[in-house]
């Protein structure tokens, strides 16, 4: 269970998160929506431990463990996955090598046996096929020359293989056509289980048609100003953020 209490964070002296309270129980999917600049991506980065952000107040624990005290790679090994809004290119590093190295690094940290090349390829090929990705995906360099949609699908491929316990998806749906959107949603749905939870950051209802959230939260100016069930997303889609923001102010 992810528990965030009164979390405040700044970057370059600018306060972005101003006291976030959020509880994501195991097995649930929570959507976070909100206007541009409200702090959605920052929340993802702070949870994942990106350099440059300073936590000025509050706590974030996963299963009772303080994740803010951990290095990014320790958080990853503990089961936290961040699907990037803008996946990063790694020239000269092929997907297979990157994925296997990442999987084995996490396994080592957790004291689990490492995968050999054959075991890895079997898993990875099955997942690429399931995500309708081309056969050469694993041989290509990480995100280099990928289209926007391919990059997002590559994030989902990594998530499927790394099997996180909690995933933060930062606008993974943006830039996707309907077919790709469905593949991404199916990917997350496939992971749905009592041992998996997700925080889905999105602007659009259409992802939530395929990926029905347990809770929807509206983030504005660094705070969660409204929470509700899946119907809240429909309200937002119909009325926009302005009314809710005005109401909260």
């Amino acid at each position: 269970m992810l528990e965030i209490k009164n979390l405040a964070a700044e970057i370059d002296g600018k306060q972005i998160l101003k006291g976030i309270d959020l509880v994501v129980p195991d097995g649930e999917i929570h959507a976070i929506m909100g206007p541009n600049g409200s702090g959605k991506s920052t929340l993802g980065y702070v949870l994942a431990g990106r350099d440059g952000y300073t936590v000025t107040a509050g706590t974030a624990t996963f299963d009772g463990v303080d994740i803010l005290a951990m290095e990014p790679e320790q958080r990853a090994a503990a089961g936290l996955f961040l699907a990037f809004q803008y996946p990063v290119e790694l020239p000269g590093v092929n997907n297979a090598n990157f994925l296997r190295t990442a999987m084995n690094a996490q396994r080592r940290t957790r004291g689990e046996p490492e995968l050999n090349g054959v075991e890895f390829l079997k898993l990875a090929r099955a997942e690429t096929k399931r995500l309708s990705m081309p056969d050469d995906t694993l041989k290509r360099n990480v995100n280099v020359g990928f289209s926007g949609g391919e990059k997002k699908r590559n994030e989902v491929l990594q998530m499927e293989l790394l099997r996180p316990r909690i995933a933060v998806l930062d606008e993974t749906d943006s830039g996707l056509d309907i077919d790709a959107l469905k593949i991404v949603a199916d990917g997350v749905n496939a992971l749905r289980s009592p041992g998996f939870s997700a925080v889905v950051i999105t602007h659009y209802q259409r992802l939530l048609d395929h990926l029905v959230p347990d809770r929807v939260h509206v983030l504005s100016d660094g705070r969660i100003i409204r929470s509700g069930g899946p119907e809240l997303a429909l309200t937002l889609e119909a009325e926009g953020y302005a009314a809710i923001v005005a109401e909260a102010a």
Binding site: L90, V93, T101, A105, T109
Partner: protein
């Protein structure tokens, strides 16, 4: 298999924060007094039981050297070197071993520490590739050099059966004097430059390779260099000759023990490729780079030059330079034969206070000659890394082509990367391309890798290996693994 793993283990053992290969082996040495003069040169020549012409060659080089000045055009800060404060000859005291069984056990132990699979069994075992795609790999022959004398040479007999000569150059001077006399200094003249002249005067060992006409060398040849005696400058001399249609792949790798005083190293490598011959020369250079303040590292002044003497010949240099306090090195190709091909693939890594000024020269003389230069420089810490290259097209070199790719990667804010390309074309039909990039290691890339579970250092290693991939793939498989690990090791502590 076993030997490869040993090598990997040996490299892995270095993944501590310090240079763990800084041990000294306790072997009785026979050392000439410090200093350089004609008597010392006569002593070296006498100890090596050399013919008179060789002594004359040395003395002529020495006479030239005395009139020369140290080059100062490189982007290097070099403390004054006292050439009289160096031992120019050191050799193990025991007589030359007749077989591996006679080799000093302490020496074999040292090779084991280095992960050098000296014993034939291990060498053979070590090169049967475990990689499914590469399949069975040909064996490797190693001419191991301890300080100035080649202590043991494997596979000489097997090679001799196909007419390949692979031996210490001092043996070649005695046993194949006509060949040596014909080719020595024919690519790098004895007064070519300051350091080459010094080497020509005092070189004590190195390798000699002769591949006769039409023979494809049945195994990769390899020499591991290692400086072992305090204050012994090492002056290696390598001469490789590939006759018409011959082919050879040669691997050179070095490690050096930790020292407080700078150690002078001035090597000369000459390659001669006759018509349709191919020579591939690969180096992993891991001399002791000095401590974090740059103290005690090796000074590495190297003259490497290949002569594509015949039509359609090809010389390919691949180097991975991670060590030395100072690197001054420009492996070059003289493309004399029509349709000859020169290649230079280089990764140069500098960290802490290391300085590297390295690159290549491609001299196009023959018609339709082609050269390719791919240089990847990585600077970290407070180091300085310079690519210096010359592409020269002589008037008669119609149809010459060159492609140069020169990329620099900076890690941190205190290091420097410099690119100094010289291009001289005197033939209007030449086509020359130069591409260069400079980038900093990207925070986004590091965070991305760490978010997926890689440690900071593994992330740096992965990004840097990716940056160097175009060069690493040119290395023979046996070196590629070591090179990949070395890259990561060399950059330890450079981020964060």
């Amino acid at each position: 298999m076993a030997a490869v793993e040993e090598t990997i283990d040996a490299v892995a053992a270095v993944t501590g924060s310090t240079y763990k290969w800084g041990f000294t082996t306790d072997i009785e040495m026979d050392i000439a007094p410090k200093g350089l003069n004609e008597d010392i040169i006569r002593l070296i020549s006498a100890r090596k039981e050399e013919p008179e012409w060789m002594l004359e060659y040395r003395l002529a080089a020495y006479a030239g050297w005395l009139k020369m000045e140290e080059p100062n055009w490189a982007m290097l800060k070099i403390a004054p070197i006292d050439y009289q404060d160096v031992h120019y000859y050191a050799a193990p005291k025991k007589p030359r071993p007749k077989s591996l069984a006679d080799v000093d056990p302490a020496l074999l132990e040292m090779y084991e520490k280095l992960g050098i699979p000296l014993r034939e069994r291990e060498v053979l075992a070590g090169v049967v590739g475990s990689d499914e795609e590469e399949g069975h790999r040909p064996p490797v022959a190693i001419d191991a050099v301890l300080d100035s004398v080649s202590v043991a040479t494997t596979f000489r007999k097997n090679l001799a059966e196909v007419g390949v000569i692979f031996c210490p150059i001092s043996d070649a001077i005695r046993e194949h004097p006509d060949l040596v006399r014909q080719y020595l200094g024919s690519v790098v003249p004895k007064q070519d430059n300051y350091f080459a002249a010094l080497n020509s005067a005092v070189f004590t060992d190195g390798s000699f390779v002769f591949i006769p006409k039409g023979v494809r060398c049945p195994m990769q040849l390899s020499t591991y260099f290692r400086i072992n005696t305090q204050n012994t400058g090492q002056f290696e001399r390598t001469l490789i000759i590939a006759e018409e249609g011959a082919q050879v792949s040669y691997l050179e790798g070095c490690t050096a023990p930790q020292r407080d005083e700078n150690q002078l190293h001035a090597a000369v490598v000459e390659l001669v490729a006759m018509a349709d011959a191919r020579i591939k020369y690969s180096t992993v250079q891991n001399w002791y780079p000095g401590d974090e303040d740059g103290l005690g590292g090796i000074y590495n002044f190297v003259t490497k030059r290949g002569d594509c003497r015949g039509a359609r010949s090809k010389i390919s240099w691949t180097q991975m330079e991670t060590g030395s306090a100072i690197t001054w090195k420009y492996p070059s190709c003289i493309l004399r034969g029509d349709d000859s091909v020169g290649e230079f693939y280089s990764v140069a890594v500098t960290n802490h206070k290391q300085q590297a000024d390295t690159g290549t020269k491609m001299i196009h003389i023959g018609r339709n000659t082609t050269s390719t230069i791919v240089s990847k420089g990585i600077s970290a810490g407070q180091s300085n890394n310079t690519y210096r290259g010359l592409v020269k097209v002589r008037p008669q070199a119609a149809g010459a082509r060159n492609f140069t790719q020169c990329d620099s990667l900076l890690i941190g804010n205190d290091c420097g990367a410099h690119t100094v390309p010289y291009i001289e074309s005197r033939n209007p039909t030449a086509r020359l391309e130069h591409e260069a990039t400079t980038s900093k290691i990207d925070e986004d890339q590091l965070f991305y890798c760490r978010q997926r579970g890689l440690s900071q250092e593994d992330a740096v290693g992965m990004i840097v290996n990716g940056f160097c991939k175009d060069v690493l793939k040119e290395l023979p498989m046996e070196f590629a693994v070591e090179a990949t690990k070395l890259l990561a090791v060399s950059l330890e502590g450079s981020v964060g």
